[in-house]
């Protein structure tokens, strides 16, 4: 049912814990009771530390562990390319019924990075309120993140 990589990460989850003075933090709570909370510490647009707290099934725990492992050390832009599908692939596949509710770790990480960017935007006096919808992100992101390649997804 679960592959060896899933069980290994479930048994020995990496990068566990919280970051009290995190630069970004986000929580995704699923309807079925699963909770994914990611913390990021960012220096020079690089994820120097990724930590998480999770309540969920073995797949949820393994996804968090894999997401943090993949993300730590990456630049913001590279880390934003880590999707739930990337995590699933890195874990060697997941049972179909576990793909949705349990595989939300990458989404939670993405939200934590957005939280960081939002905080920066607020500090930088770029008022998100003056932008419509999410457009502040696209306005802000290319200018602030060095090495960004326009046109990447």
């Amino acid at each position: 049912m679960y592959g060896p990589k899933v069980l290994e990460h479930f048994q020995n989850p990496r990068c566990t814990g919280s970051i009290p003075d995190a630069d970004g933090m986000a929580t995704i709570a699923e309807g079925c009771g699963d909770v994914f909370r990611f913390y990021v510490k960012i220096r020079d647009n690089r994820l120097v530390q990724v930590r998480y707290e999770v309540k969920g099934c073995p797949v949820a725990i393994a996804c968090c562990s894999m997401t943090a492992t993949l993300a730590e050390g990456k630049t913001l832009l590279d880390a934003m390319e880590i999707t739930n599908e990337v995590v699933e692939k890195a874990l060697g596949g997941l049972p179909p019924e576990k793909r949705h509710c349990s595989n939300m770790a990458a989404d939670a990480l993405y939200e934590a990075m957005q939280d960081y960017l939002y905080r920066r935007a607020v500090e930088g006096k770029v008022s998100p309120a003056r932008c419509s919808g999410d457009s502040w992100r696209t306005m802000y992101l290319p200018r602030e993140v060095p090495g960004s390649k326009r046109g990447r997804s």
């Binding site: 079925c32 009771g33 699963d34 909770v35 309540k55 969920g56 073995p58």
Partner: protein, 382 residues
Amino acid sequence: MIYLDHAATTPVHHEVAAIMCDVMNNCFGNPSSPYAIGREAKGLLEKARKEVAGLICARPEEIFFTSGGTESDNLALWGVVCSHKGRGSHIITSSIEHHAVLNTCACLAEHLDCSVTYLPVDSDGLVDPDDVRRAIKKETALISIMHANNEVGTIEPVAEIASIARENGIPFHVDAVQTVGHIPLDVKQLGVDLLSLSGHKFYGPKGVGALYVRRGTPFAPPLRGGGQEGGYRSGTQNLPGIAGLGQAAVIAQRDMDAELQRLEKMRDALIRGIEEEIPGVRLNGHRQYRLPHNVNFAFDNIEGESLLWGLDLAGIAVSAGSACSSGTGEPSHVLRSLGLPEHYLNGAIRLSLGRSNAEEDIPFVIETLSSLVRKLSQLSPA
């Protein structure tokens, strides 16, 4: 491996396996055939019927062999409702029944316009007999309440409910899959009209069970065919399985007193140990009216499935209140009926003891479980 899921299924007793092999190797006859090997098969069939009847203090002619608990429940419900007036009948059951009863009720409601009253239970899982009395209507055809709940182990007051059913002349079915072979059971004393039992829950083989139907109970057999089992359950009998079921009944009766005491002792040690070692646990089910082999705990802010897998990786097999393998992630209907707080709902596991467990296993189980709970709690957001 330490197997703690005897409520799901039990290993076949070696004496049972021996008899089954013997029947398969040496007696292939059809019990309905009149010649010698048919008569021999018939002899084995009737011997097993006596043995199963003996276990629940019934008459042999009131025992009808089936393919197991689910079939027995289906036959009981359809058989009684169809003998009543069928369409538009009323059924009383509880909200914590096995799905074999709940889904059959839903099917009867859909196809025969039956109305169903699902009685609530208290926080220990007990049905209130007064609720049964109040639910009875003119068109009530059947009352079906389980003897003991398979998840939380609560033993229901079936004798009281039976006397209410009898006063009102309503047939009473009891799903006793979890109790037969484990605790003393006398159908006459309980006063039930129909009772389901399953072989593999008490060291018999899978795929065989029986339905007890008290003589004189209205019953219209839903399964039609060659008229085997007195017409109550057509189909050539599964003779090796039935012979095995008979032997399992003999063993259960023989060892019941000693095994009951041994299991209760281990159960209480397990409950005490877990409550002492792990803060914030919640025992599900009634403390006193409880199956001798059932332990069910809910843990705060941990998912039962993670406990199941963590214990499995440590060599302990248990079952979780809800494994969201269905994709819906729906918590157990039983725990919901007990009114468990939301954050406990997904965090329940059941440990069910049996013959394969020894007292020496208990400290290891408690230790492994408490360190696993600590680990998962640390991982969990507060």
